[in-house]
């Protein structure tokens, strides 16, 4: 936990600096007749973030915070695997939405997660992976008229336009 505490504080300190620099693209001082410049609010708050990171780093050296004293690993092996697989499959699913749309990516994600990670039977996996996109489609695309992304235009034209013709 101890190295992670320092790494996080240092990364966040650099992020704070980036935010300060980015905020300073707009005036950060006082503009006569207008009040504080557009960048002032985020600039000084980012400075607050930087100062907080400074305190976290100082407390790390003094071993004053719980995380800076902890000798426990930040993540043990099984936790790291669970995190990597969950966050990784989620990332792949969102990436796939750009190509095959929500209704292609969601069942693939559910099959991977339930079958590979949960070790559920094909029947349970198939039921959840089949029902979830149908319910989502009926709720969002049909009831709410919120068109969820369909990926490449060919998928939308070939599969969803005929469906809209039937259901709407």
């Amino acid at each position: 936990m101890r190295p992670a505490e320092l790494i996080m504080a240092v990364v966040m300190a650099f992020f704070s600096l980036y935010l300060m620099w980015k905020s300073a693209e707009l005036p950060i001082g006082w503009i006569p007749q207008e009040g504080p410049g557009g960048g002032a609010f985020p600039f000084w708050l980012a400075a607050g973030m930087l100062a907080s990171c400074g305190v976290v780093i100082a407390r790390w050296f003094m071993r004053a915070s719980d995380a800076s004293r902890s000798e426990e690993p930040y993540m043990d092996g099984p936790s790291f695997r669970m995190f990597l697989l969950s966050a990784g499959s989620l990332t792949v699913m969102i990436g796939l939405i750009h190509i095959i749309g929500v209704y292609g990516a969601v069942p693939l994600f559910l099959i991977f997660y339930m079958r590979y990670m949960g070790r559920h039977s094909w029947i349970t996996t198939g039921a959840v992976a089949g029902i979830t996109p149908v319910v989502t489609f009926l709720f969002f695309d049909i009831a709410l008229n919120i068109t969820l992304p369909k990926g490449l235009s060919v998928i939308e034209e070939q599969i969803f336009y005929p469906l809209y013709d039937i259901l709407l």
């Binding site: 905020s23 009040g35 980012a46 607050g48 973030m49 407390r59 930040y74 969950s86 997660y113 989502t136």
Partner: protein, 506 residues
């Protein structure tokens, strides 16, 4: 008398068929969300908010408020049956609820939790009905300095009373406020903080993206790590006769329920406090005044009753500052507040003037939600016990999918979905290092209100920060008084540290 008339009008709205349906649905979904380990009202409200676009704004907010209530009831179920708090608000319920379940008295604990929740909810809604209108009337006279001072106080309570690492709390508040500043500058209209020149940042960062990221994705990652996807459940025998007997036995616990309700309500009003400290304090207080404090932690029914009455009362208490002042009393009410803004219902005192129907409809629906949550809870205890057996490896991916489509729906932009994933993962990694996340969510909701209030005040005073201390309303320096409380709250941790240091020396 006027309040009574308004409340009756409110009941007419609450009992409209659509609103009744959403109350029942909200309670049921809330009970389910609350009962699932790791998921609480805040997760439920964040994930379900985009799903409410189907109904009118009043019904949507009634649904979410009912869900909020239901989750408070539901949290006890997994605390008692699994020994894992369904939500942080139900942590204190584990202390005695779990030992009762281990002794084979799970049904007694479940009935006690449901009844105490009902009592807490009812007392707090009555208090809310009495307190809200006068507070809104006072707040109507507030200008931008007072509003900004109130927001500073809301952030100060996180620092003074939050109990988390102060530097990390300040970091969390600041990053939430900076994220709220992304988009176009409200006064000059110039683009601001457009990272990597991505066009998706021009419309700003929707608070829902952060809320769903942290309370949806981040929370599930956290729960997956802590439970490893496994649950072990106690056995429970539930029958109508046993429920009636358990209800009769509760007459001995009325005093604790009432105490928990009042304490929870007033703690709930404080922005950083909310239901979790409310329930823990009620548990502590019940133990302190008990004749046999040594029985606590070993299966004392008062140890279930006190925190459950308190967490429901606190959830209503948290709505008081949200509706009257526009300052949320808990992370859940922060998300509700953000939802209201989306629907064009600006929370604050004007709401009581301009949207009386909405306000009183919501208050009346809280009374109704309380009754329905109790009935659904008692009637469906066996069903919830069955649902709790659902492996987390089925629930987790479904919630991930809900987060993705929920993050997409408000702006219909995949940019926001990516952002939500980043917030969820980074939020989870930071939470592991004790960075509190609730202040960031509160800050991103309050940021768009705090910045104009501050800038308007400074324009009035020509750049002098003294306006926040010197401006008066009818000769009373309201803003200065609020700032005084905020400064005291900021200094509270310093005082605590100094006292702690002086103790060993003395």
């Amino acid at each position: 008398m006027e309040i009574l008339n308004l409340l009756l009008d409110g009941f007419a709205i609450a009992f409209e068929p659509l609103n009744l349906v959403v109350i029942v649905l909200g309670c049921a979904v809330g009970l389910f969300v609350g009962a699932m380990p790791g998921l609480g009202s805040v997760n439920g409200v964040a994930i379900m908010l985009p799903m409410t676009f189907l109904v009118p704004p009043t019904s949507a907010i009634i649904f979410l408020a009912a869900l909020y209530y239901g989750a408070m009831y539901g949290g006890a179920i997994s605390s008692i049956m699994l020994g894992i708090p369904g939500a942080s608000t139900a942590v204190a319920t584990v202390f005695d609820g779990r030992p009762l379940a281990m002794k084979g008295m799970a049904d007694k604990a479940l009935v006690a939790a449901a009844t105490a929740s009902f009592v807490g909810g009812t007392i707090s809604v009555v208090l809310f009905t009495l307190f809200a209108p006068p507070l809104a009337e006072v707040a109507l006279r507030f200008g931008s300095p007072e509003i900004f001072a109130l927001m500073i106080m809301a952030f100060a309570t996180f620092i003074g009373l939050g109990g988390d690492d102060i530097a990390k709390t300040i970091f969390s508040i600041c990053i939430g406020l900076v994220m709220s500043a992304v988009g176009l500058d409200i006064i000059s209209g110039q683009p601001r903080l457009i990272f990597l020149d991505l066009p998706g940042f021009f419309h700003g960062i929707n608070f829902l993206v952060l809320a769903i990221g942290i309370y949806g994705i981040g929370e599930i990652l956290w729960t997956l790590e802590t439970t490893k996807g496994e649950v072990t459940m106690s056995k429970a025998t539930v029958s109508f006769r046993r429920v009636i007997v358990a209800l009769k036995d509760l007459r001995h616990n009325v005093k604790t329920m009432v105490m928990g309700s009042f304490l929870g309500y007033f703690v709930g009003i404080l922005p950083a406090a909310g239901a979790t400290p409310g329930s823990l304090m009620a548990y502590g207080m019940a133990k302190m005044i008990a004749k046999e404090p040594e029985t606590y932690g070993k299966g004392n029914i008062d140890g279930v009753v006190a925190p459950e009455a308190a967490n429901n009362a606190a959830s209503t208490g948290a709505m008081l500052p949200m509706l009257t002042l526009g300052i949320p009393g808990s992370p859940t009410t922060a998300i509700l507040l953000g939802g209201m803004v989306i629907w064009g219902l600006e929370p604050g005192p004007l709401l009581f003037v301009e949207h009386k129907d909405f306000v009183w409809g919501l208050i009346a629906s809280l009374y109704a939600a309380n009754v329905f949550a109790l009935l659904i809870n008692l009637a469906f205890i066996p069903l919830f016990l069955w649902v709790l057996k659902m492996p987390f490896t089925i629930l987790a991916p479904i919630i991930f999918v809900l987060c993705v489509v929920g993050g997409y729906a408000p702006t219909q932009s995949l940019h926001d979905v990516w952002l939500m994933l980043i917030f969820g993962v980074v939020g989870y990694l930071m939470r592991k290092l004790d960075y509190p996340m609730a202040p960031a969510v509160l800050a991103i909701v309050l940021g768009p209100l705090a910045e104009p209030a501050m800038r308007q005040s400074l324009i009035i005073s020509n750049g002098s920060f003294a306006i926040f201390f010197t401006r008066t309303i009818d000769g009373v320096p309201v803003s200065g008084m609020i700032m005084g409380i905020a400064i005291a709250l900021f200094l509270l941790p310093v005082v605590k540290t100094l006292r702690r240091k002086s103790r060993p020396a003395s």
